[in-house]
């Protein structure tokens, strides 16, 4: 919403400075977005006389001018404008002046050997017009030495405020003035608006053709005919104001409607009465109707659009834009002035549907003051009579002004309760009344009736807002929030939240970098990871590759790694901790942690190095990340099983599933499936893992935080080595499990220390050497006991895996 200072002062009697007004506007919620003060910006530019303009000695196109800028001292200026001539009046800028049109600051210069002290300016150089053709050529009576902006009437600062959608009443300069007046910065000018006494009835009939349930679409419609008008350009003062706020003056009748739209927040429409055939009908448009509107575009209409039609068809889109055919021009002699009330939601819907943005739509969709519909018609009529002459008819009014019935029961203590500030009852009362609220009753509770222009005020909280915003939120002293008990209460974070944070630290600690990628990915990528269902596809994706809610973090990470590779960084290790989606229900959302390593981005380092080049990443890099993560999260890994194989996106022979029993799968790791890499057009070695954090078992709740007693044996442990020959398919996990089963008490640990396939081992078999640590607890083991447990280990492993001892 834009307005000028002088325009505001039509409604507000104030001595306050522009700065004070601007600060007050922002303070009461009418945030000033910008102030354009051309007079301030153009202060150094003065009106000057060209005493002489002579040919430059060294340049055909330049002239050397002697200029009088008001103090009688001739100043020499080199000028390239073709229209520079002796005796003319123009605008002069001395050295040191900033030139907005050229974005330069002038200095004393020498142009082709002739000194130049300043510049004669064009409209474009001042940033006022597009006119580059020559320097400004002012009339002979322009006062030499006077600032040009003052003389040209540009000294009316333009203020732009950012209007919040609830404040329809301030889409009006009068409304803004009322808000300002409530702060005491000035007095609202309330000039009486006597009704216009027309001569005879308005000959044009109006009917509101709506079903009973549709009456709200246009509850009130006022129309008046003014005969014998002369429609030329509007007066200069009006044109200047309209131009200042960015509107193009058209003709007096149209300018009057635009002027009142801003002045009073009352949009109006004018029809050329001689182009209207018969009576006007306000109704829903019919499918297939269309209108060439005032913007010259043709709009196809349907039953959701409310129109004003005559015998010729649709003449105007109600509350949004009129039609070209019935518009007013310089030949208009009889004008129909319309002031109507429209349903905000219908206006908003129609405006969006047709893509029309107008000042009328802006106001009607926020809600105009219904009580001002007919006074607005009278005000417009008066302006038409003043500016264009003519004879008015009586108003033809159809419908009713909606009644105001919304009374709020308001205890004054509500202000202290919600805002935490003690204001005097007198101050609160004065504020509300200044804003137009009616207060009935006295004492602690009063009845408050909001004014007709404040449909946004519904209840007590709104009244509190009105009072404190005018008082100033800065008057509310901050008060500490009382402390709550925290020590020994529940932790601030849930287990999952704590694990989410720990997961990030643990993975970053392994050298991976945290990525935050979009929650939506390409449909094809989603399908490759088990997603891509219709229930998780966006109806209106912003881009084709951001269309489906991700079923996994891995595809986003793979794409991110490839982008880095394309930029010349092939060895990247990335992770993400975030949400994935299995359904559109809250339960379908899970928090996952995933990481990928590309190229040679191993935990120990990537790329070539004097100590040895890093090999391409392999499945064990991913496994190490996954297990380190589980360890860091404090997940009890005793029951954790690593099962060979994984989902379809992993290499079937180089992947593993992490689970606590077959029904509690918590994640996967492995090399990415070559088919997947091909489908995603990814290159290079890639391994990854993904853990579903919500699926991890919760820590067991224990009544005490004491750790279990520690029993340390004083007896030395002994180690025995076994080399088993087994079929290739036998897993290390099976061998370890079988060996451990031989004596759960005595065997304190088992490690695989050698793997061998080749000479000396039958084809299809492998040698797996394990070291078993035996820890006696009561007495040193005898040789016979050691032999006995060794034999049992060999027997158990042989039984479970078919192993033989390597010869």
């Amino acid at each position: 919403m834009k307005f000028t200072l002088s325009w505001l002062k039509d409604h507000l009697d104030t001595e306050a400075s522009l700065d004070a007004i601007s600060e007050t506007l922002t303070r009461i919620g009418l945030e000033v977005e910008g102030i354009e003060d051309k007079a301030a910006a153009l202060r150094p530019y003065v009106i000057a006389r060209v005493i002489s303009a002579e040919q430059h000695p060294n340049a055909d196109r330049l002239r050397v001018c002697q200029v009088d800028a008001g103090d009688g001292q001739p100043l020499q200026v080199v000028c390239g404008a073709p229209n520079a001539r002796t005796g003319m009046l123009s605008v002069f800028a001395p050295p040191g002046t900033y030139v907005p049109g050229k974005d330069i600051t002038l200095s004393v210069g020498t142009i082709r050997g002739v000194e130049s002290r300043g510049m004669l300016c064009s409209g474009a150089e001042l940033g006022l017009s597009e006119d580059h053709d020559g320097i400004l050529d002012l009339p002979a009576d322009a006062p030499v030495g006077t600032p040009y902006a003052v003389w040209a009437g540009l000294d009316d600062p333009v203020i732009e405020i950012n209007l919040t959608p609830n404040r329809a009443d301030c889409a009006s300069i009068h409304g803004i003035a009322r808000d300002l007046a409530a702060t005491g910065i000035g007095t609202l000018k309330r000039e009486p608006l006597p009704p216009v006494r027309g001569e005879g009835p308005c000959p044009t009939q109006v009917s509101l053709a709506f079903d009973a349930h549709d009456k709200g679409l246009c509850p009130l419609f006022g129309l008046r005919l003014v005969r014998g008008v002369k429609n030329g350009p509007s007066p200069e003062w009006m044109q200047k104001r309209l131009r200042a706020i960015g509107l193009r003056p058209i003709n007096a009748l149209v300018d009057i409607t635009n002027y009142l739209t801003f002045d009073r927040g009352r949009p109006l429409h004018v029809f050329d009465a001689n182009k209207v055939a018969g009576g006007l009908v306000v109704r829903r448009a019919e499918e297939g109707e269309s209108l060439v509107a005032l913007d010259g575009k043709t709009y196809r209409l349907d039953g959701d659009v409310i129109v004003i039609a005559d015998a010729n068809g649709v003449e105007s889109i109600g509350g949004i834009m009129g039609g070209q055919a019935s518009g007013c021009d310089e030949n208009t002699t009889d004008v129909l002035i319309e002031s109507a009330l429209w349903d905000p939601r219908a206006i908003a819907r129609t405006g969006r549907r047709l893509g029309i943005v107008t000042d009328a739509r802006y106001r009607f969709e926020r809600g105009v003051d219904p009580a001002f519909t007919l006074p607005g018609l009278d005000l417009a009529t008066r302006l038409v009579l003043d500016l264009c002459g003519g004879t008015p008819s009586q108003a033809n009014v159809v419908g009713d002004v909606p009644e105001l019935t919304h009374v709020i029961d308001f205890p004054w203590t509500e202000v202290r309760r919600l805002a935490g500030i003690e204001l005097s009852r007198a101050e609160m009362k004065v504020t509300l009344e200044a804003l137009g609220f009616h207060i009935a009753g006295s004492g602690d509770r009063v009845k408050v009736l909001p004014p007709s222009w404040r449909a946004d005020v519904e209840g007590k909280a709104d009244l509190v807002e009105e009072i404190v915003r005018i008082a100033g939120l800065d008057r509310i002293e901050p008060k500490p929030l009382a402390r709550v008990e925290t020590v020994a209460n529940e932790p601030m974070l849930t287990v999952l939240q704590r694990r989410t944070r720990l997961a990030r630290r643990a993975l970053a600690g392994r050298g991976l970098m945290e990525a935050v990628t979009y929650s939506f990915i390409a449909a094809e990528d989603a399908r490759l990871f088990g997603g891509g269902g219709a229930d998780l596809a966006l109806a209106n994706p912003i881009a084709a590759d951001l269309s489906d809610m991700r079923p996994s973090l891995v595809p986003g990470l793979l794409r991110a790694a490839q982008r880095n590779a394309d930029r010349g960084f092939p060895d990247v290790a990335l992770f993400e901790v975030g949400q994935c989606f299995a359904s559109d229900e809250p339960e379908g959302q899970s928090v996952r942690a995933a990481g990928i390593r590309r190229g040679t981005a191993r935990h120990g380092g990537a790329g070539r190095h004097w100590s040895g080049a890093a090999a391409p990443v392999d499945v064990f890099e991913a496994k190490a990340d996954a297990l380190a993560l589980l360890g860091a999260l404090g997940v009890p890994t005793g029951g954790l099983q690593v099962v060979a194989g994984g989902p379809a996106w992993l290499h079937p022979g180089r992947s593993g599933t992490l689970q606590f029993g077959p029904k509690t799968v918590v994640g996967h790791f492995g090399e990415l499936h070559p088919r997947l890499l091909k489908a995603m057009d990814l290159k290079g070695a890639q391994v990854g893992f993904e853990i579903v954090l919500d699926a991890l078992p919760l820590p067991r709740h224990r009544p005490t935080k004491a750790k279990p007693a520690l029993a340390l044996s004083g007896l030395q442990a002994i180690s025995r080595n076994f080399a088993f020959v087994v079929a290739r398919e036998v897993t290390a996990a099976d061998i370890l499990k079988a060996a451990q089963g031989a004596d759960r008490k005595l065997i304190a640990g088992i490690d695989v220390f050698d793997l061998y396939e080749g000479v000396g081992i039958p084809d299809g078999s492998k040698s797996v050497a394990v070291a078993v640590r035996l820890q006696p607890s009561e007495r040193t083991l005898t040789d016979a006991e050691i032999e006995a447990v060794s034999a049992k280990i060999v027997a158990e492993v042989a039984k479970k895996t078919g192993a033989t001892l390597r010869a």
């Binding site: 909280a461 509310i476 008060k479 929030l481 990030r504 970098m513 991110a560 949400q579």
Partner: protein
Amino acid sequence: MDLDALERDLLGQVEQAGDEAALETLRVAALGKKGSVSELLKTLGAMTPEERKERGPLINGLRDRVQGAILAKREALVEAALDTRLAAERIDVTLPLREAPEIRGRIHPISQVIEEITAIFADLGFSVAEGPDIETDELNFTALNFPEGHPAREMHDTFFLAPDHLGRRKLLRTHTSPVQVRTMRAKQPPIRVIMPGRTYRHDSDQTHTPMFHQVEGLVIDRSANIANLKWVLESFCRAFFEVDSVTMRFRPSFFPFTEPSAEVDIQCSRKGGELRFGEGTDWLEVLGCGMVHPNVLRNGGLDPDQVQGFAFGMGIDRLAMLKYGMPDLRPFFEADVRWLDHYGFRPIDVPSLVGGLTA
């Protein structure tokens, strides 16, 4: 051979010995069972007491001096051998190592800033609440007092999923505010929570991404008011931006779910293109806030005449940009390792109020 000559000879040989082996041969030849000195000692037994008294000290003295010389020589040879080995073992310790993984890894600034915010609010007694990204229209709009036909409910502002068989469309939450309602419905006051999370709007240009992060705060009890709200936000901004004082401006504004509502600017300076808080004459908008709208309290199952409270919301990505100086939002979601390396945080930099939010 007389004793003096033998001693000169033996000591000379010891001096000449080149290594420990030569020295040992020498020792055996002199002091071994059949050694020249040992043989002399054996002669003492056959001597008369007088002879022995005269010759004994001479022979024993010879033995002691030879033995001492051999020991000293051995020590010198060991030292020399070690020096030789050390000289041979010299390596170039200036060779560069690979960077340690715990230094190389990075935490994304968004995660770091969420932890910073959480640390501050935890100190004020707030816990962390969360809600789903895929929301219902009811929780994202209706319960938050957005009227029917509000422009935010349109396809050009909000991401929708496909309608179900009843024609209901779920959506991607446009703000973290639905968690307010979820919290009210799940928990009785007093409520003190912050709600960080991902949010989505149908917007993509230089300064907007279709996904971004917000943190919402909610306090509901029997007395929480604007004065408390101002204190909480001032405390937060001071702690977050790590300055001694911040000047804040509360501007009345409008949000459907709060009444009264305000936007908050903080004073800053932009001298030399560097943003600084606690000084200067510029204002920078950082958050929106207000008293929870009575309709929202009702929709949360609470009685607005019995309980009251405030809510506030701010952009996490924007807070990160303001504090850490990233000029653009879009790279936040591009996972460029150069950007992550530069703007990310080391895994050991865990923000806390005890140790300071930033090192």
